[in-house]
């Protein structure tokens, strides 16, 4: 069935976004209104009065909390009051104007000129600005090596094929605000088209970054807006984009991962729009408009915001913040520092692409056809069809499909994980510290006196860890650059990294002793290996491996 499907050339579909924009917005508005008015007939919580009141209530609370003036709040108080006596057609009109308002707030833009600038001139410029300009020659060398800083690898041919056959939904792990530019550059490097993506509204506060994001296809997601109507608009916008063939990017972890542990519990909201969009396409007689969900890991040698993120993770339960605005990303000095010290390292960010899945979590063949667990080709359209081949609407079913997709994605991430020297050595050191302290409780470890270890022991522990990883590809793989290096060199490399960028060194080496100066950040970096079982007794562990040895 594959060969007769129209295969379009890989193209930057965002080039036509601006022409499409009004049409897309009108479609979003029409659908959200039609849906809300249809379900409102059931009354109760679905009534328009309830929906509008929900908006007013949430907006009043948000504005009060942000210290906005009375004038701004009054508009919502008025709405809340008027609702009591409002006729149904007036409620519909109010709903229409709100949907339009939030739609305009969300919608993105794509300026081909800005794209060409950002992908052509800007990297060279940034490379020059951010390189350690000891001399002009070094500066020029830095420009040349920019390509090497972000490494894109994995199933690139397959993903490129999928980008031609259908629409991509790129779903990376999320650890930093640098992820969006990193994945953007990785896509470019891999010969993949740019994607549209939802970015937290807080990222739009920096006018320089906001300019680029706005014009490179990003749309704004305001996570402070908690009411259902806003979620409707956001999801419908994403659905419409996918139906129109715009490659998209979601971070299924929802927000930057605080702990640096590979994400297991995925937020399914926007991910669910893939099933909805495909269902709509099948209904419109276009089951060939395939959607491909691409698991991706973004693996940093060091993470820009590590200090803030791990503090937030370790803050008492309930005190951690969902939206952080005052972190390293908001301080230009830290970003410059990050670029200068971190991104100058060759391959300091590895973006690894996995095999795409269909919206139902099925694997695909090299030709982009869905296959079930037993390896049979299966028609994805059949998943949304009823007994007589008709397309059926069933949100509960689709939510379960999305849950299945989320499980498959979460299962794909560990295998796609790329370990830098920093992760491996942090893990080896952490295992030694916890064994000596007799606890893995991080709150207790933090309070211990600064641990010191013989370098030799770290090298041995690292060698064992590397052997276990090599024997278990499902856990991930070492960075290609360190794979051939002896353990001693990897330790040196990691110590350089772990003592370079953060406010204070995480570890430092004095003669043959390794001093651990920041257990918290050590924990953060070792967490990237948290899915690897401990070295104690148990399947796959060091002890078990030794026990099996003759």
């Amino acid at each position: 069935m594959g060969s007769d499907r129209p295969v379009r050339e890989a193209e930057n579909r965002l080039e036509r976004f601006n022409e499409d924009r009004e049409r897309l917005l009108a479609e979003v508005e029409r659908r959200v209104l039609a849906h809300r008015i249809a379900v409102a007939r059931a009354g109760g919580d679905a009534s328009l009065e309830y929906v509008l009141n929900d908006v007013a209530y949430c907006e009043i609370r948000r504005l009060e909390a942000s210290g906005a003036g009375d004038a701004a709040i009054q508009r919502w108080r008025d709405l809340s009051r008027r609702l009591l006596t409002m006729a149904e057609p007036d409620k519909e009109e109010e709903l229409r104007s709100l949907v339009r308002h939030y739609g305009r707030d969300v919608v993105g833009n794509f300026d081909p000129r800005v794209y060409r600038f950002a992908t052509g001139i800007a990297p060279a410029l940034l490379g020059f600005v951010f390189s350690p300009v000891g001399s002009l020659r070094e500066g020029m060398a830095a420009i040349g090596s920019l390509d090497a800083r972000i490494l894109a690898d994995g199933e690139l041919d397959l993903v490129r094929g999928c980008a031609e056959r259908g629409t991509l939904i790129v779903t990376p792990t999320h650890s930093s605000n640098m992820d969006s530019p990193a994945i953007g550059l990785a896509l470019l490097r891999a010969g993949l088209p740019p994607t549209t993506y939802g970015a937290g509204k807080n990222l739009f506060t920096n006018p320089f970054i906001s300019f680029f994001m706005r014009n490179l296809g990003a749309y704004r997601v305001d996570r402070r807006l908690k009411f259902e109507l806003y979620k409707d608009v956001l999801k419908e916008y994403s659905t419409v984009l996918l139906e129109h063939g715009y490659h998209s990017l979601f971070f299924p972890g929802g927000t930057r991962c605080r702990s640096n542990i590979i994400e297991k519990n995925l937020k399914l909201g926007l991910l669910g729009t893939s099933v909805t969009a495909y269902r709509n396409s099948v209904r419109q007689g276009a089951p060939h408009k395939r959607l491909y969900i691409v698991p991706v890991t973004i693996n940093y040698r060091l993470v820009l915001e590590a200090e803030t993120l791990i503090d937030d993770y370790l803050a008492e339960t309930g005190k951690s913040r969902y939206i952080i605005t005052d972190d390293e990303f908001s301080r230009i000095g830290r970003i410059v520092e990050f670029f200068r010290k971190i991104l100058v390292h060759e391959g300091s960010v590895v973006v690894r692409f996995g095999r795409p899945l269909d919206p139902f979590g099925n694997d695909i063949t090299d030709d982009g056809e869905s296959i079930d667990r037993a390896g049979r080709i299966v028609d994805p359209a059949s998943f949304v069809r009823g007994a007589d081949g008709e397309v059926t609407d069933d949100d509960q079913r689709d939510a379960q499909y999305t849950r299945a997709l989320g499980r498959r994605l979460a299962a794909a991430y560990p295998r796609l994980t790329v370990f830098h020297a920093t992760h491996l050595v942090a893990r080896a050191v952490h295992d030694l510290i916890t064994a000596a302290a007799g606890t893995r409780d991080i709150y207790r470890l933090i309070r211990l006196p600064a641990p010191q270890l013989a370098v030799e022991r770290v090298v041995e522990q690292l060698a064992r860890l590397r052997a276990r990883i090599a024997a278990n590809p499902a856990w991930g793989a070492e960075h290609p650059r360190i794979a051939a290096q002896p353990a001693g060199a990897v330790v040196d490399d990691a110590v350089r990294g772990l003592s370079s960028y953060h406010t204070r060194p995480i570890v430092s080496r004095r003669e043959q002793t390794l001093h651990v100066d920041d257990v918290k950040l050590l924990y953060y970096y070792q967490n990237r290996t948290a899915h690897i079982p401990g070295p104690g007794p148990g399947p796959g562990s060091d002890a078990a491996a030794e026990a099996e040895a003759p």
Binding site: F360, G361, R373, S382, F383, R385, G386, D394, Q400
Partner: protein, 326 residues
């Protein structure tokens, strides 16, 4: 001709599949029953009879076929009613002919052999559709064909599977079908009740008093609920049709698990032919170990099954550890 959406497919011509098909067809619903055994299919089509359900005249609305394509083509809702040793193989065959729109529920009150996975996990590996469910409860083939009032529960994480199952299978006053979202719970409860049936066979043969028997049943339910909760199930499921319901109905001479329990009490060795309940007991102990749950009743019967304890010792030990811990 009955619409595809109103046709029920049954995979497997064992006593339960035939009895269910007979009941549904007798209530005016179209049933397509698939069996690989052409002799069975021919007997049904020619004589409206099957030696596997003696004495029952099968209604004309029940059609038997040996062609799985007919089953998949004419029915979207399929009940997989085969033995736990065949489920993997049958799921594969069925998987070759169905697609993502089909609904498949199994009626297997045991874990799949030999892996001891839940049957829905095996179906997930072998079938293209994700819309899977389990049908369980104390409805015996005899009850269905004799018209006795009985009930089952259909469980799935998909509302649609539960709703379609109830719409198509509910045939009051004979069979009432309840719905549940607790697929894990219903499958575990159903399988573990087989394990506890062995325990009841054993204790009945030892001649325990009615009071002791009652304690055993309630403790069995308590530990099954704990184990289920740790495995992600709703603990209340174990007090329902698939748990307590199955246990009470199986505790009779008709059940292989019950007979095994009796033989164990009489000093027979267990290993020869493990029943579904015996496998469930060993699998349950293994699951409990992984999840860190105490299961003294299952451990006791597992020790007897593996020959580490004699039955009388086990009965005492179960009593002691239960009392000690609770």
């Amino acid at each position: 001709m009955t619409a595809r959406r109103d046709t029920i497919g049954i995979a497997g011509a064992g006593p339960f599949g035939l009895a269910l098909g007979s009941l549904l067809a007798g209530a005016g619903r179209r049933v397509v029953l698939w069996s690989r055994d052409t002799a069975v299919v021919e007997a049904i089509q020619a004589d409206r009879r099957s030696p596997r359900l003696p004495g029952v005249a099968l209604p004309a609305l029940l059609e038997a076929t040996s062609d799985p394509r007919r089953l998949a083509g004419e029915a979207r809702f399929v009940v997989l009613a085969v033995t736990s040793t065949r489920v993997r193989e049958r799921a594969r065959e069925l998987g070759d002919v169905i697609d993502g729109s089909h609904i498949v529920v199994h009626a297997i009150g045991a874990l799949a052999a030999p892996s001891n996975d839940r049957v829905s996990q095996v179906m997930e590996q072998g079938l293209p559709t994700l819309k899977l469910g389990a049908l369980a409860g104390p409805a015996l083939p005899d009850d269905l064909v004799e018209g006795n009032s009985s009930s089952m529960v259909i469980a799935s994480v998909f509302d649609e599977v539960v709703a379609e199952g109830r719409r198509l299978l509910n045939t009051p006053p004979v069979l009432r079908v309840y719905g549940s979202h607790d697929l894990v719970g219903v499958e575990l409860a159903s399988a573990l009740s087989g394990a506890f049936t062995v325990v009841l066979g054993l204790s009945d043969a030892l001649g325990v008093s009615p009071g002791t028997r009652a304690v055993l049943i309630t403790r069995a339910l308590a530990e099954a609920s704990r184990l289920g909760a740790a495995a992600g199930a709703d603990p209340r499921t174990f007090a329902g049709l698939s748990g307590l319901g199955n246990l009470l109905v199986r505790a009779s001479e008709r059940s292989a698990d019950y007979q095994l329990g009796r033989r164990l009490a009489e000093g027979a060795a267990a290993a020869a032919s493990p029943t579904e309940g015996a496998r469930a007991a060993l699998a349950g102990v293994e699951l409990a170990r992984r999840l860190g749950v105490r299961v003294p009743v299952l451990q006791g019967i597992a020790a007897v099954l593996t020959g580490r304890l004699d039955p009388r010792q086990a009965a005492n030990l179960i009593g002691d550890t239960v009392a000690e811990a609770e």
